[in-house]
Symmetry: C2
Subunit: 380 residues, 2 copies
């Protein structure tokens, strides 16, 4: 499409463009909100409804590769950013302003949710988030509490989402999220970042009771947490299971997936689309298909067309371009976008995304080129 068409296209989706003001824009009045229509292309694709083009957002789109994000984080620390509603909302909205993505993913961290359960979360610049009191024994698991009120200790999340929802009301949907319990428990057991997660994997096999208690409690709390996010204004909910590949397929299906199913079943009543991302669970698509999610997010380790063939027509797919191609040329990005769009065509619905998060030093103009290519090449 011509430059003019592209500009109009972007304007229709209320994009402010690169270089948008860093401060949170003044809230729109009810009249303004009532006067325009949210771009719901993302929500339609999640449900398999017809769309005019393929919607796109990116995992970790609100993050360290953005100068605007770096500027915010230069003035505060990570946990303060996550826990201050105005800052979290501002960071959440940045990529919508900058790239014109079709959904905002709430800026937070999967480690915060279990603090009200009794986990002592710390942060250091070199190690990232860690817990000072990791779960290693049945007694440790027994001590954890499931708060009756999901707002206890987590109100900053819902406050931030209310700001986001208000700010985004006439633009794009907000995706709320949590880590899947298996992935959150991995960090609770390891205490900090880990390469092999060997302490966790050992506990699963030699302290099964502790593992089960832990998974039960975290699942219950996570379901409450996500319900509260929908109530606060999240228009879709996503479970990130970045450690799903730590178990082989049979163990994944008996020790991890049942908890995912339980949470998704509890969220059915919210009415918002549910997304599941099981990174590395390559051999369990037939089981994942029926986990209760509306959208299955596919990592870069699978061919999208093969995944679609296994998932069938009752779910939409999200993904799955190689994230590191963002370091390649714009021509190569465009070539791969076309390839991914072609593969996604066979699905009930396709939400374009990366196969994992945006790499840390991705050139901003390449991210923009990818988003633009998706919009341009997918128009019907």
């Amino acid at each position: 499409m011509s430059e003019r068409d592209a500009t109009d296209f972007a304007r229709r989706r209320f994009v402010k463009g690169v270089g948008a003001a860093l401060t949170v824009a003044p809230l729109m009045g009810d009249d303004a909100a009532a006067g325009s229509q949210m771009n719901d292309t993302f929500l339609k694709a999640c449900r398999g409804a017809p769309v005019d083009y393929t919607p796109v957002w990116m995992m970790r789109q609100a993050g360290r590769y953005l100068p605007q994000y770096q500027k915010v984080l230069a003035q505060t620390d990570f946990l303060t950013a996550v826990r201050t509603p105005e800052i979290a909302a501002e960071i959440t909205i940045q990529p919508v302003d900058i790239f014109g993505v079709d959904a905002a993913i709430f800026y937070s961290d999967i480690t915060t949710v279990v603090v009200p359960m009794g986990m002592d979360l710390r942060y250091s610049d070199d190690k990232g988030p860690s817990y000072a009191n990791p779960v290693r024994t049945p007694a440790d698991a027994d001590r954890l509490i499931v708060p009756d009120d999901p707002a206890d200790g987590l109100s900053f999340v819902y406050e931030a989402q209310k700001i986001c929802a208000r700010e985004l009301a006439n633009r794009v949907p907000l995706i709320g999220f949590a880590g899947a319990p298996f992935t959150v428990c991995a960090y609770m057991v390891e205490g900090g970042p880990s390469h092999a997660f060997s302490t966790y994997r050992r506990l699963i096999f030699d302290e099964r009771a502790a593992f089960t208690t832990l998974m039960d409690k975290v699942s219950q709390h996570t379901a409450n947490y996500l319900k509260a996010q929908a109530a606060a204004g999240a228009n879709a909910l996503m479970l990130f299971d970045s450690n799903a590949g730590l178990l082989g397929p049979d163990d994944y299906e008996s020790l991890n997936l049942p908890y995912v199913r339980r949470i998704l079943a509890a969220l059915k009543d919210t009415g918002v689309p549910l997304i599941y991302f099981g990174l590395g669970a390559h051999s369990s698509l037939a089981a994942i298909r029926d986990c209760g999610a509306d959208v299955i997010s596919i990592d870069y380790g699978l061919r999208l067309n093969e995944a679609v063939a296994q998932l069938g027509q009752n779910v939409s797919v999200q993904g799955n371009i190689e994230p590191y191609v963002l370091y390649d040329s714009k021509a190569e990005i465009r070539r791969r976008v076309a390839e991914t769009l072609a593969a996604g065509k066979a699905a009930r619905g396709h939400v374009f995304n990366l196969g994992h998060g945006v790499p840390r030093y991705s050139p901003v103009d390449n991210v923009k080129a990818m988003v633009d290519a998706v919009h341009e090449l997918s128009q019907v």
Copy 2:
């Protein structure tokens, strides 16, 4: 089988049993060697020939979970152990003595091979092996040399293998190995251990020429290195591609696998069975099938029966039990051994192994229980 049968079975395979002397046993004279026959069950299974039972060995079977290994390493440091032929041979043979496994895997580290190319290898107890001069630019890749003589700087490997071959001549085969080039290059670029290998993955996409130069040189050197191992007495050769899952299937097949194929083609003349282990390359079995290996090693992320169905009858399989089940009960280990043996039956040949390395704190008696269960339950 009865305890007596089991004892005889073990004796037939020249097992010394747990608690074998730590010092290298005195070398057998030629007469003694001539008087008995090597247990070649492993080699037969690699080639798809009939066997009396399923052979078993374990990745990282010579390692930190063994008190006998810890005792050796208490008296020396890691790099000295790897570089001293008598010590490397002693550690290589330990699990044959202790467990009666059907093959010895040479004790070494995949990082040492590229030192003669110009890499400055260091070791620290907390970080493990690392390079002080990582490859980050085309100039860095250009500077690396491919030694004409694979013995230059690596004679300790072949010396150790000669000792092993002599010591093991009437017992079990010796497996020589190297890291696959893609995996070795990952460490050369990162410089040290990494969780996400983000520097490497970036270089692959934004410095393609440097990546290609690096892969070319490492592949050429690795082929020479493995040929020399066969000449020194290795009875089989294995390529460990632990980082194969860092790329999606199409990139894996165009940027990694061609180098594996090139190396395996160069090793055909050695006449020894060739094994390839591509950890995480779950979507590329159809391509891996034709890579030139006699045996495809399958990680725990795939169901063995599904892998066998894709690999067909021109290759044998190795694997693939969940390694962390070694922390579970002996009954559960036995149950899973039976399951894995059943799945392996459909293959041309099956070498029992873990889906990845022996975990660091595995109970020695559970490792023994697994080896015994394989031997007992697989007898025809």
